[in-house]
Symmetry: C2
Subunit: 338 residues, 2 copies
């Protein structure tokens, strides 16, 4: 096993300096501390807290609010703790920033804090640690992100494919045949996944894929302003949205334009945010059970900590049918026939 | 809660007959026992063993040998037990047949035996219980099978997509550009999944998909006899196989025909069966870690038993490079150029 002596020998410094740096003593310069920590990681040094198997996990969270029950991350954090704490784990919640990641590698941060594994919420492909996860040896479970080939990293998220199939099936039963998609640009794992899920669901149910029925746009209000008239002009009678926030923006947009929901247009969200019951009309949406997602995060970590190299756990979504979906409008020509 | 009295009242029989039937007493006719059990399930009766939470699980196994370490199912069963038994679960292994399933519904069987959940190995789409799993309320985890929409059923298996991508990447590094597939007909979940994984992997790495490079055939020896010459004639220099057994048959076939592996043709299997180290040449293959698969089965059941409705857990595969893959052969025309 690698000892403090090995680190000291490699750097040509005293054992006590190494010890101080590893124990966060204040009389070691920041530069030296880093040098020592990086070398410790490089040599595979296991610190005392890790040796003692102090059971300590962290949730690293970014771009996601979690403090109050109506915020998206709240129940994910809660579900994780509900599983982890009864099993004796200490769970720290650590807000994360890109600038912090630039200064400190993931493995150094984890070793320094004595965390055995992490649950990662809200990271984007821009986060510097996403690159490190490709080679990291310290287990991490990523929500709605995926890292190829590394047996120490797993992914949890909802089964977007099954979800979109549920939504398309529901809309087809209501007579809809031309179903559109409004989403963000395909520069994130989750938006790509939902885009593909949309295409596959249409294909599965024998509906035509038409790129004029798809609107991809970063800004939420822009996406509805630009694409709702365009999609309606193309004969779309129902629109799936990548996220509830976009669907809720669509309700406002339709209200402004005198487009009736669901009489003129049915819309389906994704997430089941608490506010979706209170929109007018209330939103039909694909529910992500966030408590269960948090629990999944812990189960996935348990697998990794037991050397079971899972790649992903997918949670089922359920379709919550509310007022924003209804029978497809009858076209003028068809009305004449009646 | 439903009691024995409710069942007796519904059937117009005595409470003691119901009790006897539920406790497998011998003085109740088989016909009556069934009537009582079916009614108990229909009413949602929970028997004493389930009430007491006697921790009892079963592995239902079909079409898969598991008694000796070199058989495919052995390590899956072992991995499952390694996780379950230390947590106080009794795990019974129950060989299953189609005829038994025709006589007894899954829910009745599980209630009668006091099992809280099951791990299902080797079932095919023909198994009668596969239909019942669509609506079953008793948790089951299926290996290499998937049931849509039922939150009580989950799936575990390997990530075929990631596996085939590893194999294609490996072959491309060796200079292969025309990579074929030999597999079975697309009438099972797993064969469909691997077929799609093959198509997607070629697409991802910018290789042409050519249906003349694909051979799908039920019988193992037939598939290699028929398709190896055909694929070679179409310029294929490497073949992926859906299973090791097919790849091993291909080694024999190539030997008979004087086709050298890997000089003339590279081949990659799937599974990493124990015998693949001993073929001549030893087989390059995608490894399913069967101990880990068994453990995943237990983790997935744990999720379901805690009301976490996961759809699937995918285990990573790893590519085990042995002697059956090598540099792509240089074509005659290209030789001239050198």
């Amino acid at each position: 096993m690698v000892t403090i002596n090995d680190i000291a020998a490699k750097l040509g410094i005293s054992k006590s300096t190494v010890s101080k740096a590893l124990n966060n003593a204040t009389d070691v310069s920041e530069e030296m501390r880093k040098k020592i920590l990086y070398t410790a990681v490089e040599l595979g040094y296991v610190n005392k807290r890790q040796q003692k198997k102090e059971k300590k996990l962290c949730i690293l969270i970014e771009n996601m609010d979690y403090n109050t029950p109506n915020q998206f991350g709240h129940d994910i954090v809660l579900g994780f703790k509900q599983m982890a704490e009864p099993e004796g784990w200490i769970v720290d919640i650590v807000p994360m920033t890109i600038s912090f990641q630039k200064l400190t590698p993931y493995s150094v941060f984890m070793m320094q804090q004595g965390y055995q594994a992490s649950f990662i919420l809200g990271f984007s492909l821009l986060d510097p640690w996403m690159k490190e996860f490709r080679i990291s040896k310290i287990p991490a479970v990523l929500y709605d992100n995926y890292i190829n080939d590394n047996p120490n990293i797993a992914s949890v998220g909802c089964d977007n494919q099954e979800g979109f199939e549920l939504a398309v099936k529901h809309l087809m039963k209501l007579g809809h045949k031309k179903i559109g998609l409004i989403s963000g640009p395909l520069d994130s794992y989750i938006l790509k996944a939902r885009y593909n899920a949309y295409l596959n669901a249409l294909y599965k149910y024998g509906l035509e894929v038409d790129e004029d029925c798809i609107g991809l746009e970063y800004y939420v209000a822009e996406s509805t302003r630009k694409y709702i008239p365009k999609l309606l002009a193309h004969g779309v009678t129902a629109i799936l949205f990548s996220h509830d926030v976009r669907a809720i923006a669509a309700i406002t947009e339709c209200d402004d334009r005198g487009i009736r929901i669901p009489e003129d247009l049915s819309i389906v969200g994704f997430d089941d945010l608490p506010m979706t019951s209170y929109t007018a009309p209330p939103l039909t949406t694909l529910r992500q059970d966030r408590i269960a997602l948090g629990k999944c995060g812990f189960y996935a970590l348990t697998c990794l900590l037991n050397q079971v190299a899972i790649g992903s756990i997918l949670l089922r979504t359920s379709l919550v049918v509310r007022g924003s979906t209804g029978p497809a409008p009858i076209k003028e020509q068809e009305k004449d026939k009646i």
